[in-house]
Symmetry: C2
Subunit: 165 residues, 2 copies
DNA sequence: TACCAAACCGAATTTTATTCGAAGCAATAA
DNA sequence: TTATTGCTTCGAATAAAATTCGGTTTGGTA
């Protein structure tokens, strides 16, 4: 299996193309990177098999389906014992309405993004977290007014070829 | 074009399947929702064409490609004039290293998620924001230690069939 | 019951995916 | 320089999937 430094220009261009359109056909992808369909197919299978690609998701237009309440909560713990972290992390992960969550350093310990059918539901969820984890010292809720920038893939160029190095 | 309330059970199941695997074949999707491939194909095209699906993204395993620094910044403004908001929002959007950004209410005005090749680059970016927008009163940086939960699609069931209604 | 529109189905056709053997290419050792 | 080796590519053949289309079913309505 290749290491990251062994991925060549074609591999990276394929990954970028897949980020941009996860449903691109192998034939189109091959044209885009100037390979024959068979060679491209072999590379693509290998990229997926070796875990460079994490999966493909169809993004649904959730705001057209319903009018959800979205919140970002910053959670602070009183105790920083590893067990406490793990426990809360697992509980957070298990909540379907949690879309993303991060363990962070800075002014708090977790940052969690929720999407809920209504505000009361969000309150239920945050209350349940407080109840099941008394070590939580603070939850600060930020209601999302607008998604200013949606995730559209990682900036592979900037990350792989950082300026000034 | 259908309205949200006119999407039936099959449409929703298709959207959920696409969230889970954006590269699922039409044939597999048809089996999953108990339709003939042709009927499923027609529905899928219509769902995409009518904008229920926002696009397809291949998720790449960025931590295998490099060792990026990821941060979440909370930004507060001194002036809440609409022009100030719009200006900063546009500048934030334009930064390739900004993966996601939200306008929020609560203890701050924007929450922004960065991915950078190294910490110095992050500092450059946050400094540049402060320079170009003097109305920023505070930026609080949270370094991401761990992605506790990755986005895996919206909880369609919970959002469309909220408990207690 | 008769009619209509929408959705579905199955078969036919077109396009794409997948497989596979042969050829090209670069690095290495003789 | 010349063989050898391993890896990648290519193109053709085959398998599978997508797409189209005419006919049928279905559900609602007059």
């Amino acid at each position: 299996m290749k290491r990251a430094s062994e991925l060549d220009r074609l591999d990276l261009r394929m990954l970028q193309a897949l980020q941009h359109d996860g449903r691109i056909t192998n034939k189109e992808l091959a044209e885009k990177v100037n390979l024959s369909p068979s060679a491209c197919h072999q590379r693509l299978q290998k990229l997926i098999q070796d875990g460079w690609v994490d999966g493909f998701i169809g993004r649904i237009n959730i705001d057209r389906l319903c009018r959800p309440v979205q919140c970002i909560a910053t959670i602070s713990l009183g105790s920083h014992a590893p067990d406490t972290f793990r426990f809360l992390e697992q509980r957070i992960e298990a909540i379907p309405e949690v879309m993303e969550a991060w363990t962070v350093s800075g002014g708090c310990d977790f940052i969690v993004r929720f999407i809920c059918s209504h505000m009361t539901r969000y309150m239920e969820l945050s209350n349940s977290l407080i109840q099941m984890c008394p070590e939580i010292s603070n939850i600060n809720t930020h209601v999302i007014l607008k998604e200013s920038k949606k995730f559209r893939g990682y900036p592979v160029d900037e990350l792989m070829n950082p300026k000034g190095l």
